[in-house]
Structures are given as structure tokens and as C-alpha cells.
């Protein structure tokens, strides 16, 4: 008995025997609760629907003055609140959008549609694209000198020249509202959690769920509460982009050296001064990473937000994908990445700006950038005016390059795709059929033929061996929720796609990462590749795989593998590179060869971090599996996608979302606990 308690290998063997026995013994039967649990919480989605309905239409009525009927009217509080939020966000988005693109909605907000129709002159004119592009360059220069100016200028000119001006500015206006809101909200929550342990305890599980829930599943509730449109997209984005900001703010604040805080206190700071002038500025590194994450998330969400009415690049990208126009999708993708990079660099430069106390400047010197912009503004408008004489048919390329009237490289990419298709058709087809028939289908049926009791024994057993009794219970609770819904089999399919994807990604990631980590240049190169790939909206990964494998499980699997290999590779490299140099030297002086170094020094020390990479791989894989519902799967994702178009989809969407999140969180619980204990034992991290 002692031997079993001491030896993990023995424990695993024992667990495997129990698992196989259970699989053999338990007979598949609808009435056998060892085979499948009864769907006891089948009614949950309906209950959620009812409560949402009640909250939105009956709960806490208040008197609201209605100017139309000149009297007070009873309206539900929540609806009024959400409507007020929607309206203010929509107003802000439109304001920014109309500064960039022109329009009438802002004027309407202050007057009325009737008035605007009667007065056709009252239109907000768009800024000429030349002014916006040079304005961006000037801002870049003011913030960080010529390099940023060049980057900003080139990015905006690219967008204009490739005919993506209008959707890009729509996306930009959306991000310029969603990102600051997320940053401020995240900062506030982060600070609050830092100050109060209780808040942190409450916030932590919420953030966990918010970060592991598939995006699709909270689109439905957002539409129910806030309707459809740009603002709904922005709110969904904020929900998704805020958690990393909270996390990083909290992390940054916790990392501020106690001596720095003491120095602030000894200087006589009040609580408030300490927070705003010592702690937050000192935590800026992590907070800025948070800002960067927010911007990336905002742009990654553009496609998904377009499902609930957000306009812009994401919407167009979705259309291009549906029409399988790979070249156009690529050009749109580049626009998204460019906007992301420019915004990221600018926010960074802004935060790093320094004041010169001794410069004695004249008026012109102090206001040179404003004056320069004024000059550019006037020049741009004059140019645009001359443009009206030059160009015919209502097109004025010096004012606005209309959508899809710019240059394009689509034909080039299309030709490339056609060539691949013509050349490798049979090879791909054979490979695809082999993979599905002899690998994927057997695995899938193995998953589906697992009795529920065996699944519980296996997962909880692993959790117990690796992370202790508490983790085993938590894992069991997560699984129980899924098992009691009517979607256990669907969840098994999701789990099957996810595990196959994670295993393949991890193997690739560990091999590639281990090879790259040997060399400084390869490390730098591979980390840059990972950074770049991660900024692409996840949808982009679906383009090439559909082209190659059509609408099959193979496509899903490939998309998952490509996407999920990113964190596996990154964490492997980071883990291996973080092995302290003196351990390497100790190894060298003991005369290790490469393999011995990898096996006895690098791997044991990097393993906890690499396992956290596997954790991320799981999250990435789950996201991709769910998104892949777009190309047809038969798992939880497909049902979530269906609930999107259902008027009563809130309950289904949320419950399904929770199922997916719980798969992720169960794995997270085990890996994180194990890695944390291991890191502590190794004295790292």
C-alpha cells in the first residue's frame, strides 16, 4: 500500500487498469447510469431564458418620462440601464467614425432624424484620407520620432491604396472606443482586486470563465441585453478584452518592489498618491503589456463581433471567407494587423513620453506639431478640392478611395491557390481519406464508446495523482455539470478534436521549440513568428485548410494544430531559455553531451513552464474547435453556432459555453496546480 502511495508510475498503471476494466464491464444502454448519466439539468437553458426574460421586461419597474406621450411610463430598470449604456457607446463610436468618414448620426443625436432630413446641408464632412494618414504620421513623430511616423504613415497609405479605407476606419472607430473602455475597466478592477483580497477571490473564477468561454456563446446574451450593432460588438469585445488587462494590472501591482512602496510612504504619500504616483507608474511594464493585449484582443474580435452587427474589416473578412476569396481575405487581414501594430506602438510611445523641464521654448516650438497638423489639414482639403476637377464620376481619389476601388493583389493569391489545388489534388484527397478513415474515426468512436463512469475515473484519477484530492473534486464537479446536460456526447466529440489537436501541437511545439531554443537567433526569430501569428484573427487559419481539405474533420484538426502549436512552441522556448545559465555551466563542467543536457538539466527544469504551455494549447485548441463550427462539425460548437440564430438561444448558448469552458477549466485546474507546486519545489517562478 505504501508503495502505491509513494510511486506515481504505479499509480498510473493502476488507474489505467481500472479504466480499461470499467470500459469492458459497463454495457452501453440508455438506462444504465454507469454508461450515461440522466440529463438532470436539461431544464437549465429554459430557466436561464425565463430569468433573462423576467429581468429584461418585468423586474424592478421604474417610472420613466416619455416625451412622446408627455407622461410617465413604467419601464423595467435593467432595460433602461442597458439601453442607456448602448446609446452612449453607440454615440461615441459614431462620433469617432464620423470624424474619420463623415455622416449624419452625431448631428441626429442632438436634433432628430426629421430635422436632419429637412436640412440636407447639415452633414458632417469626412476628413480627406490624406489628412488622416499624415495626421497619424505627425502623431507618430510627436510621440516617438521618425520611425513611428514612417510606420503610421505607411500603414495608413497602404489601407487607403488597397481600397480598404472605409471598413478600416469603421474598425478603427470601434477599436478606439472598445480599447480605452477595456483598459480603464481592467485597470479599475485590477486595482480593486489588489486592494481587497475578497474582490480578488470573487473576480478570479469570473475571469477564468470569461477567458475560457468560447466567444460565440456570449454573443447571444449580449444581443439580448444590448441589441445588435456596433455597440453590441464593442460590448462583447470589452467583455473579452478586459480579463487579461485585469490580470496583468494585478500582476504588475503585486510585483512592485516593497522598497519602492516604502520609499513612497516615507515621502509622505497619501493612499491615493501612493496608488497613482508610485504603484501604477511602477507597474507600467505589465500594465502596458495589458494594453497591448487589449488592442490585440479588440482586433481579434472584429470578425466575431461582426456576427452581431459590428461593421468594418471583420465583416468584410467574414464575407471573403464565405466566398473563399483567399487573396482578399489576406489583404483584409493585413489591414487588421497594421492597425493593431500602429495602435500598439503609439500607446506604448505615449506612455513613455518624457517632459523636459529646462527647455525654454518659443510659442512655435511648443506648438509645432499642432501647427504642422493645421497646415496638413488645410493642404489636404485644398488638395481634395482640386481633386474634384481631376477625377470624374463622383470618385475623388484625393478625398476618399472607395471600397474595393484601390489596387489589389487578389489575382496573384488566387492563382497560387489554383496551382496548389491542380497539382496536389489527388495527393491531398488520398491523405485526407486515410487520415479520416484510419485515424480520426477510430479515435472518435473510442471516445464515444467510453462509459461515463470510466471517463470520470480516468480524469479524476489523473487529477488526484498529479494535483491532489482537491483538484480531483473540482475536476469531478466540472465534468458532472457537463454529464448532466443533454450534450455529453457532443462534449466528447469536442474533447476528441481538442485532445488530438493538443497532442499533435504539443509534439510539434516541443520539437520545434527545443531546436530553436539552442540558438539565440532561432529563438528570436521563432518568438517573433509566434507573436505575429498570434495577432492574426483566428478565422484566418481556416482559409488555407478549407482550401486544402474541404469541409472535413481534417480541416478542423489542421486549423487547430496550426493555431495551438503557437503557445506550445512559445512556452517550450521560454521554459528552456529560462533555465539558469549556471546550471548549464554546471552541466558543461560535468561534461554533458547535448542529449544529456536536454534530458537531465533542461527538461526537468523547463517542464512546469512547458506544461503551462500545454494549458494554453488546450485553450487555443478549444477556441479553434468551436470556431471551426463555421466549417461544419458535430460537436458543442455547432450547437452554439445554432443558438446564435435562435431567438431563445440565450440559455442554450450560455450553457453550451459553460460546458466548453468547464472542459478547459478542468484541465487548467490540474496543470496549473501541478506546475505551481513543481515550480515551488524547483525554486523557480
Amino acid at each position: 500500500m505504501d508503495a502505491i502511495l509513494q510511486n506515481r508510475k504505479l499509480q498510473f498503471v493502476l488507474l489505467l487498469i481500472i479504466f480499461i476494466l470499467l470500459c469492458v464491464i459497463v454495457a452501453p444502454s440508455d438506462t444504465n447510469i454507469l454508461w450515461r448519466l440522466p440529463p438532470l439539468i436539461q431544464g437549465l437553458p429554459v430557466a436561464i431564458n425565463d430569468s433573462v426574460e423576467y429581468l429584461m421586461s418585468d423586474w424592478f419597474p421604474i417610472d420613466v418620462y416619455d416625451p412622446e406621450i408627455e407622461d410617465y411610463e413604467q419601464k423595467p430598470l435593467l432595460k433602461e440601464v442597458t439601453r442607456a449604456v448602448s446609446n452612449s457607446i453607440l454615440f461615441l463610436i459614431n462620433l469617432v467614425r464620423e470624424i474619420l468618414l463623415g455622416g449624419v448620426k452625431t448631428i441626429v443625436t442632438f436634433t432628430s432624424w426629421d430635422w436632419a432630413t429637412e436640412n440636407p446641408w447639415a452633414r458632417w464632412p469626412a476628413l480627406p484620407w490624406t489628412v488622416v494618414a499624415s495626421g497619424a504620421a505627425i502623431l507618430g513623430y510627436a510621440l516617438n520620432g521618425p520611425r513611428l511616423a514612417l510606420l503610421a504613415g505607411v500603414a495608413f497609405v497602404y489601407i487607403a491604396v488597397f481600397g480598404q479605407w472605409e471598413p478600416s476606419m469603421e474598425t478603427l472607430s470601434f477599436v478606439l472606443i472598445a480599447a480605452p473602455v477595456s483598459v480603464l475597466l481592467g485597470l479599475a478592477l485590477g486595482v480593486w482586486a489588489y486592494k481587497s483580497r475578497a474582490v480578488e477571490m470573487v473576480l478570479n473564477p469570473i475571469l477564468n470563465v470569461a477567458q475560457t468561454m468560447p466567444h460565440f456563446s456570449y454573443l447571444v446574451p449580449v444581443t439580448v441585453f444590448f441589441g445588435i450593432g456596433d455597440h453590441a460588438g464593442a460590448i462583447a469585445t470589452v467583455i473579452f478584452a478586459t480579463p487579461p488587462m485585469v490580470r496583468l494590472t494585478l500582476l504588475g501591482l503585486k510585483k512592485v518592489s516593497p522598497e519602492v512602496i516604502e520609499a513612497g510612504m516615507m515621502n509622505g504619500c497619501t493612499e491615493r498618491q501612493l496608488l497613482y504616483r508610485v504603484q501604477i507608474p511602477s507597474a507600467r511594464r505589465d500594465i502596458l503589456i495589458g494594453v497591448n493585449q487589449v488592442i490585440m484582443q479588440c482586433l481579434a474580435m472584429t470578425v466575431i463581433a461582426s456576427f452581431i452587427g459590428a461593421k468594418g474589416l471583420g465583416h468584410n473578412l467574414l464575407l471573403a471567407l464565405n466566398q473563399l476569396r483567399i487573396g482578399q481575405a489576406l489583404e483584409l487581414g493585413i489591414c487588421i494587423v497594421l492597425i493593431a501594430v500602429v495602435l500598439d506602438r503609439m500607446s506604448l510611445a505615449w506612455a513613455n513620453k518624457q517632459t523636459d523641464y529646462f527647455a525654454d521654448l518659443s510659442f512655435v516650438e511648443r506648438h509645432k506639431f499642432s501647427l504642422l497638423f493645421l497646415a496638413v489639414f488645410i493642404t489636404g482639403i485644398v488638395l481634395a478640392y482640386f481633386g474634384t476637377f481631376f477625377f470624374k464620376e463622383g470618385l475623388n481619389y484625393l478625398y476618399l478611395i472607395p471600397h474595393n476601388k484601390g489596387i489589389t493583389t487578389e489575382w496573384f493569391w488566387q492563382a497560387g491557390v489554383d496551382w496548389v489545388w491542380d497539382t496536389f489534388f489527388y495527393v491531398l484527397k488520398d491523405f485526407n481519406e486515410w487520415l479520416i478513415k484510419s485515424v480520426l474515426l477510430p479515435i472518435k468512436s473510442a471516445y464515444l464508446n467510453m462509459p461515463v463512469v470510466a471517463t470520470f475515473a480516468l480524469t479524476m484519477g489523473i487529477a488526484y495523482i498529479l494535483a491532489g484530492a482537491r483538484s480531483a473534486l473540482i475536476v469531478g464537479a466540472f465534468l458532472l455539470f457537463i454529464a448532466l446536460t443533454e450534450w455529453w456526447d457532443r462534449a466528447l466529440i469536442t474533447a476528441y478534436l481538442m485532445t488530438v489537436g493538443v497532442v499533435v501541437s504539443t509534439v510539434i511545439g516541443v520539437i520545434v521549440g527545443s531546436l530553436c531554443a539552442r540558438n539565440d537567433y532561432a529563438t528570436k526569430f521563432m518568438l517573433t513568428v509566434c507573436d505575429t501569428l498570434q495577432t492574426f484573427p483566428s478565422f484566418i487559419y481556416l482559409i488555407p485548410v478549407i482550401m486544402l481539405f474541404g469541409i472535413t474533420d481534417t480541416s478542423v484538426l489542421f486549423a487547430v494544430v496550426v493555431y495551438a502549436t503557437i503557445p506550445a512552441t512559445r512556452y517550450t522556448i521560454e521554459g528552456l531559455r529560462s533555465v539558469p545559465p549556471n546550471l548549464h555551466e554546471a552541466g558543461s563542467m560535468s561534461g554533458v553531451n547535448r542529449l544529456q543536457r536536454w534530458l537531465t538539466i533542461e527538461l526537468p527544469l523547463a517542464l512546469p513552464h512547458m506544461m503551462l504551455g500545454v494549458n494554453q494549447t488546450v485553450v487555443f485548441a478549444l477556441f479553434m474547435v468551436i470556431i471551426a463550427a463555421m466549417i461544419g462539425t458535430d460537436d458543442l460548437g455547432q450547437l452554439i453556432l445554432k443558438s446564435l440564430s435562435d431567438r431563445h438561444g440565450v440559455g442554450n448558448g450560455l450553457t453550451l459555453g459553460l460546458c466548453v469552458a468547464f472542459i478547459g477549466l478542468a484541465i487548467d485546474q490540474v496543470i496549473r496546480t501541478w506546475a505551481g507546486e513543481r515550480k515551488k519545489a524547483l525554486g523557480i517562478g
Binding site: 539558469p580 554546471a586 560535468s590 561534461g591 554533458v592 519545489a681 525554486g683
Partner: protein, 343 residues
């Protein structure tokens, strides 16, 4: 130890350069292996070690002493080939380490070198015993033999009873004992110590220094010992090499450094050194057989600390005798005052 035969050279470094930066090798060639400080800085290169030549004799303790950034650790890594020198030769028992293959180097490290690290460099996932037996495991020695050997070393470094502790369960001093045990596991010819006691608190440091001297009197290894602590260098070293900005400023016995500092930098360290403990009478006496004036003589090997009081209180010069009792010179109060007080 003090008087090891100078002809038994164990390690010999000839014109070792270690430059950090792109194109360092080409830069060195272009400047005929003699670039000066300005040229190096201008090229955006960092001069880790600049043209250092030194010998380590069999059985001696050579201290490489310098402040942070002086290149002392880099020099040690050039000798052990943990860093490939940009140029220069490092002879180990007559073999040029810079020219041998990776496999040969591994063999030499496995059997002839042992190294102790400043921050211990212990593998955190292994116990004391497993850490000490690690180099033997790497050589492929069977488990029984290596465990037996490791147990022996655990006893030698005074950790008996803690074989199955993990590094995290030990204090800093104990961890370094494990590091020392590991470095001795393969019975190396040359022992490298890279600031082994710098991370320890002063009382423990003193204790470990004593322990180190005790081990060395048993083992008689050839030792290269890096430190930033001049007192430690004086206390433990047979010879001291002082480095600054990658250059070897001076190398010699502590007595030589104290009596003939090569420049102001060496002087700055020597100033606070206990001169009276380091300088022997013979070094500063006035030579000549005529010194015998009937006063009780002092031995030429005696350090000033032990005899100064008598010399200074004596009205006349005191005769100095060698081991055979022959008068070889004389020493008076003025000479001592000059040596001890004149900066």
C-alpha cells in the same frame, strides 16, 4: 604549497582575448591582435578579457581578483572553455583546449576538471546525493559505484545525514558544500572556484574559507579561484592576479603586490591590506653581512607583524639571519615605518 616548483605548469594561457560583439574575431585580426581600449569601444565591442597571459602551477592556488565587470569570471570561463576565447591559447597539461574537438573537451571536463559556482548551480530536482553523483552519472558510471563515491564526499564536506535533502531545504553555506562535493566527485586535477563564498554571510564565509583550506591541505589540487574580495584573495591565495577592465593588471604573491603595486589601482586595494601580516623581514631588510651588532637577531622569513614591536623599540638596527642562522642583513625602525605607513 607556498613554494611549489615553478616548472610544473598545469595550465598556461597565452594572449587570451574574449571580445563580445558582432565581428569581434575579424576586428581583432584587423588590428593585428593589439587593439587599444579606444579602438575597442569605438567598434561597439565589449572587451571581456584583453590579451591575458598567465600560468597556473601544479598544486598552487591562483586567485583571480577583480571587481564586477573586470573580466575575472570571463577569464575563468575562457580557461574552462565555457566561453570560447576570441583568440589566444589555453594549454592544459600541454594540450591546447581551444583546438580540440567538443568530444575531447567533454572527456577532459569529465575527468580532470571540477568547478564550484557562485550561486551553487545545484540541480533543484535532485537530492544532495544525486547532485554530488551527477558528474559520475554523466560519465556512465554504474549506480552502486557512484552512490558509494558520493556518500564518501558527503562525509568529506560535512553533510552526513543530509544525503536525501533537496537543495531548497539547505542553507546557503550547506548548498555550497554540496557544490564543493559535486566538483570533487570526479577527483579532478584542477579545481575551479567562481566566487564560491560571495553569496554567503560574512561569518559563514569565514567558516567556509577555513573549510576550504582544510580540504586543500588534504587534496593538494591545482586551483583557480575567482573572487572580488581582496581580503579573501590575500587569505587564501598563493599568488593573486588582479584584473581590471579585462586587463591583467598585476600577478604575483600578496607580498609582492603589497610591496611593489604595479599601479594606483592595485594600490587602492593594497592600502587596507594588513601589510604587517604579509611582508617578511627579508623582503625589506638592508642586505649585508655587517649587520651583526650583538642584538638578538630576527629571522628573514618572519612577517613584520610578529617582530615589528621589538625592532621598533630597539635603539639600533636589528640583525637579520637566514634559516642557517647566518647574518644576511639588518633592519631598523625607519625601514618599517616607511614600508607600513607610506602610501
Amino acid at each position: 604549497m607556498k613554494n611549489s616548483a615553478p616548472d610544473n605548469v598545469k595550465i598556461s594561457c597565452k594572449n587570451v582575448w574574449q571580445l563580445f560583439g558582432a565581428g569581434a574575431k575579424r576586428f581583432l585580426k584587423e588590428h593585428d591582435y593589439r587593439p587599444n581600449f579606444e579602438q575597442i569601444t569605438e567598434a561597439g565591442i565589449i572587451g571581456g578579457v584583453r590579451n591575458v597571459s598567465l600560468d597556473v602551477h601544479e598544486g598552487e592556488i591562483l586567485m583571480i581578483m577583480g571587481l564586477s565587470g573586470s573580466g575575472k569570471s570571463t577569464m575563468l570561463r575562457c580557461i574552462t572553455q565555457l566561453l570560447k576565447p576570441t583568440s589566444g591559447e589555453v594549454f592544459f597539461d600541454g594540450t591546447d583546449l581551444t583546438k580540440i574537438s567538443g568530444r575531447e573537451l567533454i572527456e577532459i571536463r569529465r575527468h580532470k576538471m571540477g568547478m564550484v559556482f557562485q550561486h551553487f548551480g545545484l540541480l533543484p530536482h535532485r537530492t544532495v546525493l544525486e547532485n554530488i553523483s551527477y558528474p559520475l552519472e554523466i560519465q556512465g558510471i554504474d549506480k552502486e559505484t557512484r552512490i558509494a563515491k558520493a556518500r564518501e564526499l558527503v562525509d568529506i564536506v560535512g553533510l552526513t545525514g543530509r544525503e536525501n535533502y533537496f537543495p531548497r531545504e539547505l542553507s546557503g553555506g550547506q548548498q555550497q558544500r554540496v557544490g564543493i562535493g559535486r566538483s570533487l566527485a570526479v577527483e579532478p586535477d584542477v579545481w575551479f572556484l567562481d566566487e564560491p563564498f560571495s553569496a554567503l554571510d560574512p561569518l559563514i564565509r569565514k567558516e567556509m574559507q577555513d573549510e576550504f583550506m582544510r580540504l586543500q591541505t588534504q587534496l593538494h589540487k591545482s586551483i583557480v579561484f575567482v573572487t572580488h574580495d581582496f581580503d579573501e584573495a590575500v587569505r587564501l591565495g598563493d599568488r593573486i592576479a588582479i584584473m581590471k577592465d579585462g586587463l591583467l593588471v598585476q600577478i604575483g604573491t600578496s607580498e609582492k603586490l603589497v610591496t611593489e603595486p604595479a599601479d594606483g589601482y592595485v594600490k587602492a586595494f593594497v592600502e587596507n591590506a594588513p601589510k604587517a601580516k604579509l611582508i617578511s623581514v627579508g623582503k625589506i631588510m638592508k642586505p649585508g653581512q655587517s649587520g651583526d651588532n650583538g642584538f638578538e637577531p630576527v629571522n628573514s622569513d618572519a612577517v613584520l607583524e610578529d617582530v615589528a614591536q621589538r625592532i621598533m623599540l630597539s635603539e639600533k638596527a636589528v640583525p637579520v639571519t637566514n634559516k642557517q642562522g647566518e647574518v644576511v642583513g639588518s633592519i631598523d625602525k625607519a625601514t618599517i615605518v616607511k614600508v607600513l605607513f607610506e602610501a
